[in-house]
């Protein structure tokens, strides 16, 4: 085993410690649902804009409170406005839900393996989103729509708990109105006035209009939802190496050094969060891994 004693070490200055956040200003803060919010950030330090790929995430830092990984949910084509969407489920995110325009957050990133949008040109695309899972898929949708002619059929299947939990509703409606995009939405629980489908999102797969022989699937949502979704997609005839999932684990650093996000032999922060399903098949069914 070769010795690493001669490995050069980066000079210790503010640009190279990967644990140093950059200050970004909140330009928009919007509540999507009762527990989900979106922040639009712009760089404050005059440094380079943060170019990212769909499916990547940033570590967002709230001064004195803490830092959490948050999916980038905006358009990769306009990185000067960095959009993030997340649920307020813990101390840091609940504090972030109260941010207003002009507040400052620290940003580290972008991190992680992205959705292989470019590699899927020529194929049909099936995007299956569950709950907050629509957020990390939205940048992929933007990128596909920007080069729509390079893809076959594009289908978005989106399920969430109830109509009140629907994300990006106006955008969903405008996508649905397009002729070159099929959008199917369902909720687990209906409510008065809801005229859309009721049922779990996996039930949408059976009839989704795509050619299994030539389709790639991107799946994002709670692990339970992804597990059953994958089974339905396989029943439709999509192979394991044509499905991509976005995984999630506890993260403290986002850069593969703290150990927390380990998932089997991988680190979700650098080997994921997007994984091709055939790499996960054995891990996915193991419990407490």
């Amino acid at each position: 085993m070769e010795s690493l004693l001669e490995v050069p070490v980066a000079e210790h200055d503010i640009g190279t410690d990967p644990m140093l956040p950059r200050p970004f200003e909140v330009r928009r803060a919007r509540h999507e649902t009762h527990d989900t919010f979106t922040l639009t950030l712009e760089a404050l330090d005059g440094g380079p804009e943060l170019r990212f790929r769909p499916g990547q995430f940033n570590m967002l830092y709230l001064f004195g409170v803490g830092e959490v990984p948050i999916s980038i949910s905006g358009n990769p084509g306009t990185p000067q406005s960095l959009v993030h969407t997340t649920r307020a489920v813990g101390t840091v995110t609940r504090a972030m839900a109260k941010l207003k325009v002009g507040d400052v957050v620290g940003v580290r990133g972008p991190y992680g393996r992205p959705w292989p949008v470019g590699d899927c040109e020529g194929s049909d695309l099936v995007l299956v989103a569950g709950g907050i899972g629509l957020a990390p898929l939205r940048p992929a949708i933007y990128e596909v729509l920007a080069r729509r002619e390079r893809y076959g059929k594009v289908v978005l299947l989106y399920g969430t708990r109830s109509p009140a939990d629907l994300l990006f509703r106006a955008e969903l409606e405008s996508w649905r109105a397009r002729f070159d995009l099929d959008v199917f939405v369902t909720v687990d629980r209906g409510m008065e006035g809801w005229r859309g489908s009721v049922g779990v999102v996996t039930t949408l797969i059976r009839r989704a209009p795509f050619d299994p022989q030539n389709a790639v699937a991107f799946v994002c949502g709670p692990e339970v939802m992804m597990r059953y979704t994958v089974e339905e997609l396989r029943k439709r005839g999509i192979d394991n190496d044509r499905m991509y999932l976005s995984m999630e684990r506890n993260m403290k650093c986002g850069i593969g050094l703290c150990g927390h996000c380990q998932y089997g032999p991988t680190f979700v922060c650098k080997d994921g969060p997007v994984y091709r399903y055939d790499a996960l098949v054995d891990l996915f069914v193991k419990r407490e891994v």
Binding site: D165, G190, W194, S197, G199, T202, G221
Partner: protein, 153 residues
């Protein structure tokens, strides 16, 4: 009649069923259409039919006082609506309402039950298929129940 036989033959639900059985089922079948908003059947009514949805969308609903109609599942084209006709007490448990204009093949459940009593092989083939369907509905319902999008309290 031939048209109905053709449609039944092609439907995945009846895949592998003997042609003579398909003919038997077609013998109990007619076409029907339901306007948007109309009820196909209601809770507690006798369950005497099974519906093969060809076009449109149907909402299964429960009516609760103070809450009105609560939709529990949406079925659309290609799905089979109704299995209560096969199992005693042959009574619908929920309302089924056409959300939009819906066309269906209606198979007379009573007629079909009679044929199954006489021909147990036909009965077994149908029960096999309906069991699978009920199983799938149960799985989907369980996923709805566990609130996969929620955060544990």
């Amino acid at each position: 009649m031939d048209n109905l036989v053709g449609i039944l033959e092609e439907h995945p639900f009846f895949n592998g069923l003997d042609r003579s059985y398909i003919d038997m089922i077609a013998g109990c079948a007619t076409n029907a259409r339901f306007d948007a908003g109309s009820f196909i059947f209601r809770e507690r009514e006798d369950a005497d039919n099974v519906y093969l949805l060809r076009q449109g969308k149907v909402a299964l609903e429960v009516f609760a006082p103070n809450r009105g109609a609560i939709e529990i599942q949406t079925l659309d084209e290609g799905e089979i609506l109704g299995w209560s006709w096969l199992i005693p007490p042959y009574q619908w448990r929920f309302d089924a309402r056409a959300v939009e204009l819906t066309r269906a093949i209606v198979v007379d459940g009573r007629c079909l039950r009679g044929k199954c009593e006489v021909n147990h092989d036909l009965g077994y083939e149908l029960l096999k298929r309906f069991s699978i369907m009920v199983g799938q509905r149960l799985d989907a319902t369980r996923l709805q129940l566990i609130d996969i999008y929620g955060v544990p309290a």
